[in-house]
């Protein structure tokens, strides 16, 4: 008995393997090549460890202890997993998990965190940075005051300025000691050295930049005369500051008007009348952004129709692309059609062109007076493709159909081929007409595999920022709305406009909105997935 099998095998063996079979065999050989692969594994792990060690080193030097610890820990875990003889599931899962954490979990958590802060224009950095920026910009050069050539000098570690006034007299002073006259060595009308002080070279000046930026030598005993400061180490100007910072009380005082701005916990110094000094700083604001997102009066009216249009856009896009894709898949699945392969390639072309590019090309073609469609295809008609509220919606749907059907075509093609022919034959034998076969047998079986993809496609189109932004930018604008919203804006583009209009960037509000939209889409997806479970019972 066994000999017959051997004979069979022997009889088949001499057949030359096809090219593909040989390729497959080579790949399999390479993948299983014992000692070579072990060496490769060691080399790769070695490289990884080398990178990890250098990263830890650099991070520790930079004082980033937490990140360094995380990198070291991850590297150790990876080594442990891959040198272990067991841990097979972990060996498969580790790379994926690392990518997931790096590119998904971190982004989600960070967006969540930003949603609870006031990060945005005017609240960009820390309080310390805001104070130093406010103090720096509050310096006003005393009107008509001369330029003082200066030399930066040092006395026992204390920096001072050796200044020459327009009359050629030399003065010296420090942060604590107002300018006083001294005898100095002059060079080209500028005092360059004086007894008891060491003159700094330009390189020394640069090395002590921080101290020199802080150096303000009082002009006289009267603080109202201001102080000499040198922005470049060789010339000084007389400045008065219009703001005074009281660190203990946490207040800023405008010395010209006497207004007191205090830190009232909103992330900016605020006067009693509610006037804010900007820049402020970044703080956490709890649910403020979410409250603003749902109670913003300016949004009340546009929000309703934008939401309706978002749902319509997503649903119609999914339905139209699905049915066109399905129709084409059925047509091109018919064995009687010749040259199907070439048609299929043509069908997939829109999918191969970047969305940005095709949306911009469509935008050009749909220009009312000069576009290709009106000028050439319609012989000079003036169809307001992108400028009429209704037509713009139609245009967006057409373009999205063009962009989206190849995907559905591919998916349906695959799904159709996986439906066994015998079911169809059985139905035909039972006397079912083609339409009935399609409606009662093919479509339900198709939906079993395709329904989850349709839900994903809905979620994608719900947030299809690219098409709207590139094609119409939400336009035509609704000139009656209090925010710059247009008739083809979907939720995500409206959020973009609300959070990033003009010069203001409100990252906190934008994050809050995107979390709200995320919740809406997830709820819909979960419900839809529950419903599609019932389809699976068909199998």
């Amino acid at each position: 008995m066994s000999s017959t099998i051997d004979e069979e095998v022997a009889a088949k063996a001499p057949q030359r393997p096809t090219k593909r079979q040989r390729q497959a065999a080579n790949i399999a050989d390479a993948a299983s090549g014992g000692i070579k692969m072990l060496v490769l594994k060691l080399v790769l792990l070695g490289i990884l460890d080398a990178i990890a060690v250098s990263a830890v080193f650099v991070l520790v030097m930079g004082g980033q202890w937490l990140v360094a610890a995380v990198v070291a820990l991850v590297a150790a875990v990876v080594n442990w997993i891959y040198f272990s003889r067991r841990k097979l599931p972990a060996k498969y899962l580790t790379p994926g998990i690392i990518f997931l954490v790096l590119f998904q979990v971190f982004v989600l958590v960070y967006t969540g965190y930003i949603a609870f802060t006031n990060y945005g224009t005017g609240h960009n950095g820390s309080q310390e940075q805001a104070v130093s920026s406010l103090m720096a910009s509050s310096l006003q050069r005393v009107e008509d005051s001369p330029t003082y050539p200066v030399t930066v000098v040092d006395q026992l570690g204390t920096l001072g300025l050796l200044a020459t006034d327009p009359d050629g007299d030399a003065y010296v002073g420090t942060n604590d000691r107002p300018l006083e006259p001294v005898d100095a060595d002059m060079e080209g009308g500028k005092a360059v050295a004086t007894d008891g002080w060491t003159s700094l070279s330009f390189a020394d000046v640069l090395a002590r930049t921080d101290e020199i930026t802080e150096l303000a030598v009082p002009f006289s005993d009267d603080p109202n005369d201001g102080a000499l400061r040198t922005p470049d180490g060789s010339t000084a100007y007389q400045y008065v500051s219009t703001l005074e910072y009281d660190e203990a009380a946490g207040t800023m005082t405008d010395v010209t008007t006497g207004t007191v701005y205090s830190d009232i916990g909103t992330g900016a110094f605020t006067s009693e009348s509610g006037e804010e000094l900007l820049p402020g700083w970044q703080i956490t604001v709890g649910f403020d952004n979410f409250v603003r997102a749902v109670t913003d009066e300016r949004l009340a009216e546009p929000l309703v129709y934008v939401t309706l249009w978002t749902f319509a856009f997503a649903l119609i896009s999914v339905a139209s692309t699905f049915f066109l894709g399905l129709f084409l898949a059925i047509v091109f699945n018919d064995l009687r059609m010749r040259g199907r392969r070439y048609y299929r390639v043509l069908m997939i072309l829109p999918y191969a062109i970047p969305t940005f590019l095709s949306a911009l090309i469509w935008r050009g073609m749909m220009n009312e007076s000069f576009g290709f469609i009106n000028q050439v295809l319609l012989g000079g008609a003036e169809v307001p493709w992108l400028t009429d509220p209704f037509m713009a919606k139609v245009s967006v749907l057409i373009v999205n159909l063009w962009l989206g059907f190849p995907y559905m075509f591919l998916v349906c093609m695959g799904a159709l081929q996986s439906i066994p022919d015998d079911i169809q034959e059985a139905a035909t034998v039972d006397g079912a007409k083609p339409w009935a076969v399609f409606r009662l047998i093919k479509l339900p079986l198709l939906l079993v595999t395709v329904a989850p993809l349709l839900i994903a496609s809905f979620a994608f189109n719900f947030n299809n920022f690219n098409v709207i932004y590139m094609l119409t930018d939400g336009g035509p604008r609704d000139s009656n709305a209090p925010i710059p919203v247009g008739f083809t804006d979907i939720l995500i583009t409206m959020v973009y406009k609300v959070a990033f209009t003009g010069q203001s960037r409100d990252y906190g509000l934008a994050s809050a909105y995107s979390i709200i939209i995320f919740i809406v889409v997830s709820v819909i997806a979960i419900i839809a997935f529950r419903r599609t479970k019932s389809l699976e019972e068909l199998n």
């Binding site: 399999a28 990178i51 690392i98 180490g233 604008r477 960037r505």
Partner: protein, 408 residues
């Protein structure tokens, strides 16, 4: 199946190497920029001007020993990257930019004041005005940019004296669309502004400290006259303005000789000359009682508020970038009028630049105050509506009230 575990292991290990490699890079980036504290100035410039600054950078390194690291960046990213990176301490010491960023940069506290000192008088007045925000100077200007009227001198040999004269001259030359200016579905107020100022309606009134956001001049009677005029030149009028004309369409129309006048900026002159057009630069012909003043955009350099090298940065900008040679180098890289008067004079030996400079003398700085953001939002769409036949005066009044409400 002959594929065994080890193959997958290798693939897995490779993936991990890549992942950690990325993590390592991300972590490494945190510290590599700290090099700026040890005598290196990092300067962000737009990619086209990297070479123009090389000479100044080398000269500075030679004299002071401070390395100048010139980093070419995409113009579109510079502003947002600067605002985001400065507070983290990772930004550059100096960045190239435009004066209308000032409101945003200052509100975010990312720019440090700069002292031009006595050299302030060496710059064109419009450049110094534009570099000043709320009374403090923040920018070292290097170029002044404004739009002007490009004329096809073969079609129309004489400059036009007024808007109507321009149309008449163009029609006499047998053109149906003598004049083009780019618009769009949402209008383009920047290119319409000279006509608006011709009716005496600036956006904001200005005082000693620059534009005053509380003094909105947009809706004055001049503004309404402008709106009426714009309506008469739109779809239901002469058709001189058309919101379907985009920049590409305007360019094509001028290059093919369908239009003799093109209101545009220096960035398009190269294309016109390459297209074989005999280009002359005129001032904007006024349709109203006053001079038609376009917006001037001033380009310059900012110092980061968090720079560890403020002294060197100030020195480099004021004493090196602010010299005629460097300003001329930058001019050659971009063909925009230099901001330093002496360099501007040298550059004006070119009749094209002299033409733009003459218009620039009438230009006003584009407001940098944050309130301007609210104006842009509503301005263009209202103008587009008027061009497309909306009732001019009520539309203009609604624009004014919308802007007024948004500024509060």
């Amino acid at each position: 199946m002959r594929v065994n575990k080890k193959g997958l292991l290798a693939a897995g290990a490779a993936a991990v190497v890549v992942t950690l490699g990325l993590a390592g890079c991300a972590g490494g980036g945190d510290t590599s920029d700290d090099a700026t504290s040890s005598g290196t100035l990092t300067v962000w410039v737009d990619a086209e001007r990297v070479d123009a600054l090389k000479g100044a950078a080398d000269a500075y390194t030679e004299k002071t020993g401070v390395e100048v690291d010139i980093v070419g960046k995409d113009v579109a990213d510079i502003k947002d990257d600067f605002i985001q990176q400065v507070p983290t301490g990772k930004g550059p010491d100096i960045t190239m930019g435009a004066h209308d960023w000032l409101g945003e940069l200052s509100t975010n506290g990312v720019v440090a004041p700069i002292e031009l000192g006595d050299s302030a008088g060496d710059y064109l007045p419009v450049a110094v005005d534009a570099s000043t925000y709320e009374g403090t100077t923040y920018m070292l200007p290097y170029a002044v940019e404004n739009i002007a009227m490009l004329r096809n001198a073969d079609l129309v040999p004489e400059p036009a004296t007024s808007f109507d004269d321009m149309i008449a001259k163009g029609q006499a030359a047998g053109l149906t669309q003598p004049f083009v200016v780019e618009q769009g579905a949402e209008g383009n107020p920047y290119h319409l502004y000279p006509f608006q100022t011709a009716f005496g309606s600036p956006v904001f009134g200005s005082g000693a400290e620059g534009y005053d956001p509380t003094d909105l001049q947009l809706g004055n009677t001049g503004g309404e006259q402008f709106a009426t005029w714009l309506g008469s030149q739109g779809k239901n009028g002469t058709g001189a303005f058309n919101t379907d004309i985009t920049s590409d369409i305007a360019k094509e129309s001028f290059l093919t000789g369908k239009s003799a006048f093109w209101l545009t900026g220096p960035w398009n002159v190269g294309a016109a000359i390459d297209g074989g057009i005999n280009v002359a630069i005129d001032t904007v012909p006024s349709p109203g009682p006053e001079v038609a003043s376009p917006f001037a955009g001033v380009k310059g350099f900012f110092i980061s508020a968090e720079s560890d090298n403020k002294v060197a940065a100030n020195d480099f900008l004021v004493n090196y970038i602010g010299t005629e040679d460097v300003q001329l180098e930058l001019f050659e890289a971009g063909n925009i009028l230099p901001a330093l008067s002496a360099a501007a004079e040298t550059a004006s030996s070119d009749p094209i630049i002299a033409g733009f400079a003459a218009v620039g003398a009438e230009a006003v700085p584009m407001p940098a105050i944050p309130a301007m953001g609210s104006v842009w939002q509503y301005w263009g769409i209202a103008e587009a509506d008027i061009i497309n036949g909306a009732d001019p005066v009520p539309t203009w009044q609604k624009l004014t009230s919308d802007v007024q409400a948004a500024i509060k």
